[in-house]
Symmetry: C2
Subunit: 292 residues, 2 copies
Amino acid sequence: MSNLEKFFNRCTQIVDEELDKLIPPAATEPARLYEAVRWSLFAGGKRFRPALVLAVGTAFGAGENKLVRFASAIEMIHTYSLIHDDLPAMDDDRLRRGRATCHIKFDEATAILAGDILQTLAFQAIADDQDLSEKVRVKLISELANSAAKMVAGQQLDLDGEGKKISLEDLEKIHHNKTGAMISAAARSGAIIAGANESELNSVTNYASKLGLLFQITDDLLDITQSTEVLGKTAGKDERAEKATYPSIYGIEETRELAEKVHAEAVEELNDLEKPVEILREIAGFILRRKS
Amino acid sequence: MSNLEKFFNRCTQIVDEELDKLIPPAATEPARLYEAVRWSLFAGGKRFRPALVLAVGTAFGAGENKLVRFASAIEMIHTYSLIHDDLPAMDDDRLRRGRATCHIKFDEATAILAGDILQTLAFQAIADDQDLSEKVRVKLISELANSAAKMVAGQQLDLDGEGKKISLEDLEKIHHNKTGAMISAAARSGAIIAGANESELNSVTNYASKLGLLFQITDDLLDITQSTEVLGKTAGKDERAEKATYPSIYGIEETRELAEKVHAEAVEELNDLEKPVEILREIAGFILRRKS
């Protein structure tokens, strides 16, 4: 097992343990609500955003105990957004993380409420984190909320653009908001928790911005090159929804070259940091080469 | 104009001004999203929860500047819950605050996203409130999140109970969660901001608990005794949805007597407080006698 695999496994383990403590047991009334929350939250997600919190935070010297709560909270926000994005009124999807989407397994009302309460519990988890000072908690809530608002705006832009011919600039704006902002929040928050200085935070921000772009480019590629089975979510749906994507604008080969270029830029941003950032380089490589 | 009317008008004025600053202008991209948020937020709501924050906070000696941000945030949470509760998959309502519900005026996807971002912006508004210490901000976010989670659980219980014969105990559990928790958070937060001591906070909690119950009892009464036009939302829908209500269990006359009794208990809780709580008495009277 590679170092990176070990790292991801460790992240998944501690984040899942923390999430299990933060979410009421499935038998809690109303049981249907918490079952639905747990159905979507414990569905074998990659925990990429939490891993980024932990990778950056650890590189800057923070202990896991100071990072795991926020890492779990950002996964709760991410999962709430997946539940709502999959609803019939939005992307209308039946499969997510290899299993039925929340509204298919339960019903639409329950899925809406499961998403709603996940967002609430995420902010509460940070507010109640006794391992962080109140000053840091407030900063993290503001950081996360700022990105979560961008994520929602990005989803609206995405829906508004469906079936329309949109420019590359518009496409980048959608991604920057919809996925980039939360990836940026993950990386930046790790650094904030560890007490990084302004210049360091700046490098982390630039790294995360490139990483978010790389994530989206490879996401677009996977949507057309991989099967539904491998992805654990419906493949080929960008094309069917007539969504603008990098391959639809550049073609597959040129998009692959773009991914290489953005990967190199992300790694470049790490060079000025006098910290043990090897794991951050490996994460960028992993995103470049990911198969699902 | 009575003192209470003047007080409510003042609350609406300062809260609406604050909300206008907290929500991006309607022309901000994605314009459809912020138009939808503003459509539901500036629809002439009674601003009851903000008024309660301001009434309790002022009685305990806090300045308006320390109260108005939280008062606005709790209205944002309340409005997000109305937008989502009105969705076709939930209560499926077309009218709210005297105008078309968000998903009717815009569309379902936009309404889901408008509710989502309102919740996000509410927590961000508190986290960024420079007029409060970080310690108080964290406490308020935890208090509000705790109540917002109960509100969602209450809505789930309410949906689960539709068309079933439920006990008075179950009915009270639904209301305690769905509306009581947020009313309690409003009153308690006003006291927390003002730095009330434990014993005072206890009295405020008990007052708010009775006030929340009174609010729900009169809400049930209005649903069957008032017209849709007066209420600004669809009247008579509890009966059509076969929802358990106080009048359906006790009948109208006995429910009115219950309202009087709960009102007296709410006011009783104020007697131990050596503070200028006249406005809190008047608010309880207003809820008892409200016509919409």
